[in-house]
Amino acid sequence: MSSRKRYAEEEAERSSKRRKATSDQAEIEARLESLITRVGEKSTSSLESNLEGLAGVLEADLSNYKHKILEILCICAIELPEKVTVYTTLVGLLNTKNYSAGEELVDMLIKQMRDYMKHNEWEKSQRIVRFLSDLINCHVVELSSLLVLYQSFLDASNEEGVPQVRADFFVYAVLSSLPWSGEELSESKGPDLDKLLDRIDKYISLLSNALQHALPPFTPPPHTDECVYPIPRVVFRLFDATDIPEGPALPGSNTINRYLVEDCLSRILQVYLDRKDCAAQLVGFHAKNRFPYHYMIIEVVFSSLFNLPDPANLEVFHASLLLELCKLQPGFLPQVLAQATEMLYERVEHMNLTCMERFIRWFSHHLSNFQFRWSWDEWIDCTEKEPEDAKPVFIHEVLQKCLRLSYHQRLVETLPDKFEPLIPKEPTPVFRYIDEETNQIPALPISRKLIEAFKAKATMEQVEEILNQIPGPKKEDNSGEVEEAANPLKIDVFVQSLLFLGQKSFSHTFSALAKFHPLLKKLGNTEESQIFMLRTIRDLWQNHQQMICVIIDKLIRTTIVSCPAVINWIFSEHMRVHFTEGFVWEILHGVLRKMNMEVTQLQKELEDVKHKKSDEEDGETSGEEYAVSNTASESQVEKLQESYEAAQSEQKNLFLIILQRFIILLTEHIVSCESKGTSFQTPWYNLSIQRLEQIFTLHHKQVSKYTGTLENLLFSSDTDQNLLQVYHRFCSLRA
């Protein structure tokens, strides 16, 4: 056998061994991961013996897979916080068997914590603090060194010239870890906490002879302008002990037990994004027999839904999760959910507007899954109140949403007769150009001709010819030149006739708009004429809010109307009757969302291109080919940069218009009330000022970029105090 051949054979054998080794290794690592992540789940044997067993397995594998094992433990500490005590105990057991592994893990955690802080992942760093705190109970970490860590946190919160939110975070991180370390630290006792800890204590007492580690010195990363801290949270409590008829008592609102259960359940909501998994985890909560957990689950789900500024999860997730929970526990959850809904309804008057809108969207969605069955008779009180009172307004908006998910006849049949005034009108078009007995509508013949032409599939030119039979008002500008001014009648006849004919569905309407896109653009060539167009659409579809919303969305996307035109239309006299209605704000926030998405999209494209370019520059720089591609991307970058900046300034401009219109409108109202000697705090004002607040709430990320401009231009010392207050409240969220 030639040496060459032998070499080749040996090489082949080695590589097959290597392959086998890598696949074996991967297999073992996967097995380790599965073992570690699953410990603490439902099992026939006790948790204690499972942990002992697992610690034994890991000890044996530590020699070969130390880094992998520690890495998995680290991830579990962060990603599975509901099992924090399980993992700290496991680490404790490991530490007794292998001291250096314990040391490495602690170092790893500390490093990880600092990295998270640097990347603004404050919540994850807080989970590590908690994990470290619990490690004192398992005799892995020295009590005194934990104190030093806490001390460094409190030092960070005492720094000068840092925002309150930074200080808040560090204090909160310590506070929220005290439930795990408090007993050891102070020997002071909440008797409930003692009981809870007693069992664990007995179990871990066998670890007491282990050697312990000092935490490495830790200094929090310094504050920079790039730091974004968690926004202050409001503690949400819906139920108290008297709301719960039987079973285990609900811990008081401010007790540690309530906090801990809430903390656990809300983590489940953040970790399990699949609705079925999440519902199963919530219902299978390990301490469920000690708490009225159905109530606490509902409270936590609503707490997440009503979280400000944004819900803690995707909004639609909550509705979906609640449906799943009702399906999983049909004997309990629907009743508790109904009780919660009842309580929220009773307090709807005092509810934050943004939360109320989420409540409306959830409730209507929920009803649509239960055939709109509800104890409506118990809410009959709302039909006897003034129409602008909170309850009837709430019900009306709920029914508007129900109508969209269902149909008019169904609501009429489902609701008690007394609700009739609150049921929206049948969503049919109100067409202006229709045969009346008097027949005095000026442009009626034109409209008829248009409709005939549409049906005959006439060309754009033919349609325009008919339309030009309406003489346009001419206006002369200074130079004596005659130009055609916006022609409201022309726009009205054309748009009403076109959309009336496309009324059958969204698709028909969109198809009509697409077919006559050039003509629509021509008619709406100024902002003034675009506002006429919007008026016409609202008049035609005044009973079909959803239609107005989707048509306007389409008009913006096809650039027939501009964003500022929509905003100015919303604040115009014509829309005053609708100003406090939900659909108007659905349109406005839709405009802002679209704008925001465009800016984000351009920003991403720009970054991608720049990234690609710098990659190219780092690479080989020879040959003509490179030069060509480089110049191409140079102009590409420039072009993108331009559009990005244009979009950004357009976005800023939109916010400025909206806020300015708000200030004018509300100041006028206050002044006029004061001159009449009446209180300005009318229901209209209370809703409208909350709409102003909502601009800040829903778009806080964008608006916070403009605080300098806002203070110079809009929210200066001359501004009315009531409006300034709203602005200052917003600023304090990040100060």
Partner: protein, 191 residues
Amino acid sequence: MPFQVYRRRNAITPVMKQPFVEHIAIDSTEACLLLPVVISAGNMTEQEKRLRLSSTLYIGNLSFFTTEEQIHELFSKCGDIKRIIMGLDKVKKTPCGFCFLEFYRREDAKHALMYISGTRLDDRIIRGDWDAGFVEGRQYGRGRSGGQVRDEYRAEYDGGRREDMARQLSNNCSKSNRMIDAFDMTPENDL
């Protein structure tokens, strides 16, 4: 699920000029109809690639009376919708219980599958699945009578899918039927 493989293949239909099987096989009778479908492996990967990038969903088990507007409202909870193409009876040109739903963002379509699929609309549990993207012609039912194949094999009575139970859509129904001619439902490309 023994019919899983056919359902996957089904999603491939847009490559073919004449799609001839229903999109989702739920009951065994329909799955049997799918047996003769043969598709080359090359198309399979191409299709799978498209499925992975798609932001279009197929939504099934709709009531015949559920409107585009209702679907729009429900699914808008997950994000902005680009277009909805209602499945139509080939002969009668009326909705026949399914639609294609395209989002602007794939992420939103994913959320629709996670949080809306499997819940109710017009009292029916609707089902969604990824679709490789709408192609003209696919909006029509492929049953012999013009509707969906599945409905021709349905053994039990299904109120939401019987025409004689038609919801009274008020008197403008007949009026607007005439108007279909002016702006037909052929989906236009987005402007």
